[in-house]
């Protein structure tokens, strides 16, 4: 009977997946890093398991999972840096902001002999615990734990999930992946300098593995060692010419170095490969703006707010471009949106921004400045 029920449930899942995904809709999931509790020296395991679940869900028809970087950034902004626990209500807020219905979260204890993992899939709309993903492995490797997670997800979803390490994680080398995860944990814990050695080992173990090259590039960019950043990022683009983040980081580095033509070339590539990323359009717009190419800049900023109407800075930049072209109606409508999405911060900025001085005597501008905002 149990077996029968399981098969029936699986059929319902598959059927509902088909219904839910009609017209291109997908079930959107936010996977939070699993938090290390008693896991000194194994902090890197949590993100490794989370990104594996994300990769599995992204590869499963009918699901989409938010990128780990987006989730980590939002948590940090709310005061919860990586590797620290965050309350469920914070996770729910992020889930809601990201337009998802379900979260996957949990924690673990680990030492050299065992891993005790406690994870959950929760439907936050109903508050229902969809699934417990608890297990203990002794001894363990991160790959054993990933295999265990995949097996449990397959059972819960009633179907096979992808199982190609290179496809899911970007490398087929266990050594390269482990070193990368260790380096990433050091970087995300604020030890960027120490992360370099692990990341170099990862890149050495699998020269085609792009993730360590990207992180090495980013660390050097943030440390303002631009030439070294360029070296890593150019290598990343060479290895993976279809990787949008590699082009974006390379373009952004060139932007800092004031190599605007090179920056634009790589930002264009990033936009071509991942046109739905507002940040890529935003930086591309900035480069056009600094080059004096107002029409192109305007096009990029418009695309930013099409993709994310809540991107206040995008609206503000549209207003600035219109102001430079003395297009009052364009300024007015963009500022309305900037204030609607950015609130009082935008008003404060407008008070000082001389780009709008020519409009300060207009009734609509005064009304905008008088509007009471949070």
């Amino acid at each position: 009977m149990t077996k029968l029920l399981r098969h029936a449930a699986a059929l319902v899942v598959m059927a509902s997946a088909l219904i839910a995904c009609a017209e291109g809709a997908e079930r959107r999931v936010v996977v939070f890093d699993f938090t290390p509790r008693q896991a000194k020296g194994y902090e890197w395991v949590g993100p490794a398991l989370a990104e594996y679940v994300i990769a599995l869900l992204r590869g499963a028809e009918g699901f989409s999972a938010v990128e780990r970087a987006v989730v980590v950034r939002r948590l940090a902004r709310l005061g919860y840096p990586p590797y620290t626990a965050s309350p469920l209500e914070v996770k729910d807020r992020i889930r809601e902001e990201l337009g998802a219905g379900v979260i996957v979260e949990g924690d673990y204890d680990a030492d050299r002999s065992s891993l005790r993992f406690r994870g959950s899939i929760i439907d936050m709309e109903t508050g229902e615990l969809v699934s417990n993903l608890q297990f203990r492995l002794s001894p363990f490797t991160v790959f054993d734990a990933q295999r265990e997670l995949r097996s449990r997800l397959e059972k819960e979803l009633g179907r096979k999930l992808k199982n190609d390490m290179r496809e899911l994680l970007g490398t087929g080398s266990k050594e390269a992946y482990t070193e990368f995860c260790m380096g990433r944990a050091l970087y995300e814990s604020g030890s960027g300098a120490e992360a370099g050695a692990s990341l170099e080992k990862a890149a050495g173990a699998d020269p085609s593995y792009v993730a360590p090259l990207l992180l090495l590039g980013r660390i050097n960019l943030e440390e303002t060692r631009f030439e070294t950043a360029l070296k890593h990022l150019q290598k990343a683009v060479g290895e993976a010419p279809e990787n949008p983040e590699a082009h974006f980081l390379l373009g952004y580095t060139m932007f800092f170095l004031r190599v605007l033509d090179g920056a634009q070339e790589h930002l264009r590539a990033a936009v071509r490969l991942k046109g739905a990323e507002p940040d890529y359009h935003y930086v591309s717009g900035m480069v056009h703006f600094e080059n004096g190419e107002l029409e192109s800049a305007l096009g990029e900023f418009r695309r930013v707010v099409e993709l994310d109407p809540g991107f206040a800075e995008g609206w503000y930049k549209i207003a600035v471009v219109h102001s430079h072209r003395m297009e009052e109606e364009g300024v007015r409508s963009a500022l309305e949106k900037a204030i609607e999405t950015g609130g009082k911060d935008v008003q404060v900025r407008l008070e000082k921004d001389r780009d709008f001085d020519w409009l300060r005597d207009r009734t609509w501008f005064k009304a905008l400045m008088r509007r009471r905002l949070r």
């Binding site: 029920l5 449930a9 699986a10 950034r73 998802a100 417990n132 303002t224 940040d279 107002l294 404060v348």
Partner: protein, 202 residues
């Protein structure tokens, strides 16, 4: 809960969140959802924030510097047109030149937008500008020595960047950004762009 019950619960949840947790396929890839004001929610903002924090580490947060950062605008006053240092671009009508780009770099690291006024030097010494550029041979900055950034080989001495009101925080920030521009070679690139190509010498 048995596995079958879990699976059934999952199925129920799938149906439930089919309505609320679905995204169109084209929205699903990296779409950050609503509410993305400036300040660290995108990769570019995060990287810029880290560069800024690194360059400005330990700079005193004086009221003027804080106000500039909070308002998101840095007022920069430049002397009257003096190509290639500062001039109005004939095509775009916007301020351009070596000093304008330098002001842009300072603003970028502060995480703000630069508002440049050419010919606003008098206004600057009247305290309204956050930063003003003093030409070689001009009076020293009001309320401080300013940061020398360009030596004129024609015997006129150093050009300086001055902090409005002699503000210690702004002055320190300017000094730090100039160090950063020198160390990274960005200053040299700017210099070559405006002077080397023009056959200018200092």
């Amino acid at each position: 809960m048995t596995r079958a019950a879990l699976a059934a619960a999952l199925a129920a949840a799938v149906v439930a969140f089919g309505a609320v947790g679905c995204a169109r396929r084209d929205e699903a890839r990296g779409a950050p959802g609503r509410g993305l004001p400036a300040g660290g929610l995108t990769l570019s903002q995060e990287i810029l924030g880290k560069i800024s924090a690194r360059v400005l580490d330990g700079v005193p947060q004086t009221p003027r510097l804080r106000q500039a950062r909070e308002s998101g605008v840095l007022h920069v006053a430049l002397s009257p047109s003096e190509p290639p240092f500062q001039y109005v671009d004939g095509d775009t009508g916007a301020p351009a030149g070596f000093n304008v780009d330098l002001a842009g770099e300072i603003a970028r690291i502060l995480g703000v937008k630069s508002n440049v006024t050419i010919g606003g030097r008098d206004d600057a010494s009247g305290e309204s500008a956050d930063v003003y550029f003093a030409g070689a041979g001009e009076d020293a900055c009001a309320g401080g020595e300013g940061t020398p950034y360009f030596y004129s080989g024609r015997g006129k001495g150093w050009r300086r960047i001055c902090a409005g009101g002699g503000d210690e925080g702004v002055a320190e920030a300017v000094g730090r950004v100039l160090d950063y521009l020198n160390e990274t070679g960005i200053y040299a690139r700017l210099y070559r762009r405006y002077f080397h190509e023009a056959g200018e010498h200092i």
